[in-house]
């Protein structure tokens, strides 16, 4: 591997990591607040990508899709949380199980919507105008869209950090993550807070779907892949914290990218090995508060 290759792969790893952050942030947020691992997170991601496909086709603009798809997914979250999860408040495992059923329904819905140009065949979303070129980077061509993904992920992390640390909503979220029951006793409407959290998480999954679609395309099974990767990221980084999602994606993104280049047969084994090691030696994840193993 030459220096140019290494630099190129490092950038690929960085952009994959940025994407993983967008994906895992929503999962981690929902877990931190509600103690629910949303197993429909991958399905939300997939739905976000397909909505983006339709919006781009209708309006001709990727940027419209980047705004609309997360809003659609947030709306789905706004409906699903009060309808399904709220009845099972306190039964965390059952809430997780419900999201399995939800994932089945969403994936099947997408598979059956041939008439919307979705269906079971592989679809592609073109790169947005202006970001479809390559730029010269240390002597080799590099796609600008991937650089955009890095910048976008970093900006989102910054935005979420500011929201989390510097706003009153962020304070509510932090308090809810710490002790939702106490927050409720203080007179905060936690039902509403949970619904908003779930909607935000779903919206972030949808956002990840839009951003990923031009790079990875749209096909059946992308929901499962996304779910697995986001689970690995939060396990490695630590569940329920924003910094954990950053740390996890910063480790898993580059590790997976370099693994795929250096030993393609064992790329997945590498990130699972990282996960196993983290679990054995740091059961809370790198930066988490919740002990995953004991």
């Amino acid at each position: 591997m030459t220096v140019e290759d290494a630099l190129q792969q490092a950038l690929n790893g960085l952009s994959f990591g940025a994407l993983l952050f967008i994906l895992a942030a929503g999962l981690s947020l929902i877990f931190g607040m509600m103690d629910v691992v949303n197993l429909a997170h991958g399905a939300f991601y997939m739905l976000g990508a397909y909505v983006a496909l339709s919006v781009t086709r209708a309006t001709g603009s990727f940027w419209a899709a980047l705004v609309v798809a997360p809003l659609v997914l947030a709306a789905v979250g706004l409906v699903v949380e009060p309808l399904l999860l709220r009845r099972l408040r306190g039964r965390h495992l059952d809430q997780v199980l419900i999201t399995i059923g939800l994932a089945l329904v969403i994936a099947d819905f997408i598979r059956l919507r041939d008439d919307w140009g979705w269906g079971a065949t592989v679809r592609a979303l073109p790169f947005p105008a202006g970001l479809d070129a390559s730029i010269d980077l240390a002597g080799s061509a590099y796609p600008t869209y991937r650089l955009f993904v890095v910048a976008f992920g970093a900006a989102l992390a910054l935005l979420l950090y500011v929201l989390h640390r510097r706003t009153s909503v962020g304070a509510l979220v932090r308090a809810g993550v710490d002790d939702a029951e106490m927050l409720s006793a203080l007179g905060v409407d936690t039902d509403r807070l949970f619904t908003l959290t779930f909607a935000t998480g779903a919206g972030l999954a949808g956002l990840a779907g839009v951003v990923a679609a031009p790079v990875f395309g749209l096909q059946p099974g992308m929901d499962v892949d996304a779910l697995i990767y986001s689970l690995i990221v939060v396990v490695v980084g630590g569940l329920g914290s924003l910094s954990g999602a950053v740390a996890g994606s910063a480790v898993v993104g580059p590790a997976d990218t370099f693994g795929k280049v250096l030993f393609p047969q064992f790329a997945l084994a590498l990130i699972f090995a990282i996960m196993a090691l983290v679990l054995l030696f740091r059961p809370t994840g790198l930066l988490g508060r919740v002990r995953i193993g004991r």
Binding site: G101, V235, L268, A269, L280
Partner: protein, 312 residues
Amino acid sequence: MRIRVAIVLVAWIALATFPQWSSAWESSRYVAGIIRQVLIFAIFASSLNLLVGYAGLPSLGHAAFFGGGAYAAAIVAQRLGTDELLVSMGAAIAGAALLALLVGYFAVRAVGIFFLMLTLALAQMVFALAFQATDLTGGSNGFSGVHRPALFGLDLSAANDLYLLVSVASLLVGLLVWRVTTSTYGRALVGVRENERRMRALGYDTRTLKLSAFVLAGALAGIAGALSAYEFRFVSPNDVALGTSVTGFVMVLIGGAGSLLGPILGAAVVLLIERVLPSELPAQTVLGIVFIVFVVFARQGIVGALRRVARA
């Protein structure tokens, strides 16, 4: 007790001889095929039920051992050039148990939702291996041309012989699960489910207890996997995939976790939805909705609902 045993035996004999007494009926062969598949998945779901229903370990990676067993049976039979049932079934059980030991070693360190996440992620690694080790497994094309087995040279490849094999296997697995769950060991597993700290305080090594249950359940899933390989003469990465794990989980929960009959009923209901329902209906959507309804309104599954009705 005796009456129960008699009822189960009579029901099993009636089921095991179905191809014989129904042969005049034109759909007999088709229905026998469905029953075979229901029984194979009933074994799979029963093995998962040991974890989900008894030990309180919500595994979402059980397909790793189903598919692992299927691949082990198919590959060993092909490499050794033998159709002997004991060889391929032995390979399936050993392979699945070994895999379960590996996965379980990490997974039983976690509890509840984390256990579920870990089993899911680790099983996906097995899936990735099955998908990538093309020389061994055929990769995404799957492993086709699995031979139907023979027992001590006695050919079991005819549909009715396979039916008998599946019936006998499901009876044996059913008896084993019954024996395990009613033993002190089974009670200890339920103890871990109800209150692990207390079990530890009582001197039980709960991690080993959970790991042993995980390995046992994995080995039994391997039996189901081998039978599925014989049945379809084909093993694919699908057998190891999350979808199969979810199917097993849905079967256990719809039927009723923690009961012997539950997973069998669950397997029947799910396969009826997937294979028998008119094809215009979206099977996965129906399955997802049925599953959600059961989780919300009837967490104890069909068996629990029947018990409630019987008590009222």
